[in-house]
Assembly symmetry: C2
Homo-oligomer: 380 residues x 2
């Protein structure tokens, strides 16, 4: 297993945490990222600067490697398909990436596979959105390239139509949900699957970003079983090899619906580095290298707070309050090796462990009030 | 804290695990090691090949850094003292390294500080050893440069005198011990200390090397309190800043005696990466960077098996049985990025977690019987 030459498309924080987990097995990893100062740069055994979306760059990067994976979906899938045809192991498979890259195909896939998801209508442009006033309130989502809150607009009524995208997208019925959940599932090439405990995500009131999450989710056993089952079924429907993060809505009626999925390590699993026997990152390696999956057992309740660049600051990052956090019992900051901060940029995360959900939530408040990523330079 | 330029003298497995722990805080680390293929090479942000014992090399390496630490004691302390005088933070302090480098001074230090240790006699050469027949059975230890079982000879009777070293050393009364224990203690610059749970080490019957260890040790509360107290007192006596590994004998009379210490992360603490809230590696960073120490709480009983190069093989390393280990619940192999194996070389370790000591010991047996580091080439 050690002699594989492995590539990761993308050198951001997910790649960084994949590299950290790979140290245990001395994996020979090559990273491709367009940014010469990407988070992975400092510790990648091999780092190459280049576009993830350019056919030749991706093909050239992959042609001398044995196994290639991704930490971001926005990559040139044509090049990956060619590499796959030439015998490289590409996990997740290009066919899976292609389906998930386009939210329109992704949604249709759930429908075709009897996987529960909210109602939707495909739209080609803004005008088409205006033909579906009776479907509102809904979210208009760009088919491709949405990320971290970009590419999603809430269309409450006809008045909001100008906010809709004038590109291929989908109009998704607004779900009257009680909670947002996520289940990480890994599937290896032998078809073995393993899920992590269900997490509950609390979103930032304005940004479409997870503010914090905790595990296990505060849900009853029946809902939990449903969430776990849907995650496994989804992974099996895709026949994915690797990790799949399945984001779910728990509706006020107790229904569990798929919101969207990501075929890679995910923001909803950072806490597993500290809190679980096997982290999502190690699990991803196990899955794509054809190894037995690891135990996902949690050592206790945990929470994860995303550390975002403070609004109003843009420039070299300064982390205020790190020492206060480190003085707290079982509060573990993780920074993403990003030199520059900007408003709401994901700069790191903080994992918290404690014995109860109430104790976790107190620490979440402490963390939110005591750390800031600012800069000596302001935004304007 | 992030802007420090940090150096590690030594790029072996302890350095590798220090680097892995440093990823969370994006520490800017420079590594010096004489071996161009040292374990740290692949993931160190900066790596320099050079002697650890040459004054100019060490001074030159350190002169543009802010904080310097070690992962091996055999370094040029004169250069570190000069750097310390010039205002660099050198942790552990050169004065501590100097005392510990020489087992003769180390032993005398315990005596001077009322720290319990076995009786000993300083010897200048082999002839002096032969003057102390009545002191036998004893161990003859080289004052300097002993490491991983080298530099220690058992002298049971006059017949063994030819095995004694003809260099400055010490004759140490053989302790009739029941168990060998170790306590890792960290001390930061504020004088705060924190200990890890006491571990029990089981030595290889022939090699003077830990075969496996487990934590917590199987000892009563009184012995445990004594071991923990001695470790803290020893760290305070040295006034060390950083980690101190304190190896102890538990005698058949229930006495706890210091065997020897190491001023750095240690083989007896590898399991803390998986089993404890804060690993020994993160704790070392916290201690030397003037940060609050982390919780050493264990998430459950654990064991650690050293993975040694199989006797009879020397050459490019091949790991047999990795997959079998990974298929076991909570069995975590960690490899040291060493391309070449040789008989009994430390090639990695395996951490095991389970709910009981008996379950751990079963897994230890499984691990010992199912993994081998061999080579396509034989020893001769």
């Amino acid at each position: 297993m050690l002699s594989y030459r492995i590539g990761i498309l993308g050198g951001g924080q997910l790649g960084l945490m994949l590299l950290q987990a790979a140290v245990d097995w001395n994996l020979d990893i090559h990273v491709l990222d367009p940014d010469a100062e990407a988070p992975c740069k400092q510790i990648a055994p091999h780092f190459r600067q280049g576009s993830l979306q350019d056919f030749d760059t991706v093909y050239d990067f992959g042609k001398d490697l044995d196994v290639i994976t991704i930490e971001i979906e926005k990559v040139n899938v044509d090049a990956l398909e060619k590499l796959e045809k030439e015998g490289k192991k590409i996990y997740p498979q290009p066919s899976v990436i292609r389906k998930i890259q386009d939210k329109r195909i992704q949604k249709q896939f759930y429908l075709d596979n009897n996987l529960p998801t909210s109602d939707f209508i495909l739209t080609e442009n803004r005008e088409e959105v205006s033909n579906h006033i009776s479907f509102l309130p809904a979210f208009h989502k760009l088919g491709k390239d949405g990320y971290d809150g970009r590419g999603v607009q809430r269309i409450a009524s006809a008045e909001d139509i100008p906010k809709a995208f004038d590109q291929p997208g989908l109009l998704e019925k607004a779900v009257d949900f009680d909670k947002e959940l996520a289940v990480l599932v890994a599937r290896n090439s032998a078809g073995e699957t393993a899920t992590f405990p269900t997490v509950e995500m609390v979103f930032h009131p304005e940004l479409n970003l997870v503010e914090y999450l905790f595990a296990p989710a505060e849900i009853n056993a029946q809902v939990n079983a449903k969430a776990q089952e849907i995650a496994v079924k989804t992974a099996e429907a895709f026949q994915i090899v690797g990790l799949l993060a399945v984001e779910l809505f728990l509706t006020k009626d107790g229904e569990v619906l798929i919101n969207e999925v990501a075929p890679r390590p995910h923001n909803s699993g950072h806490h597993t580095i500290r809190a679980n026997a096997t982290s999502q990152y190690e699990q991803h390696w196990r899955a794509i290298l054809g190894l037995p999956l690891g135990s996902t057992q949690a050592y206790g309740p945990s929470a994860m707070v995303n550390l975002l660049g403070e609004d109003g600051f843009q420039g070299p990052a300064v982390y205020e309050g790190m020492e206060k956090l480190l003085a707290q019992e079982q509060v573990f900051p993780f920074l993403y090796w990003k030199k520059q901060t900007k408003p709401f940029r994901k700069m790191g995360h903080i994992t918290i462990m404690d014995n109860s959900l109430s104790a976790l939530k107190e620490k979440v408040e402490f963390v939110k009030n005591n750390i800031r990523v600012i800069s000596t330079e302001s935004k304007h």
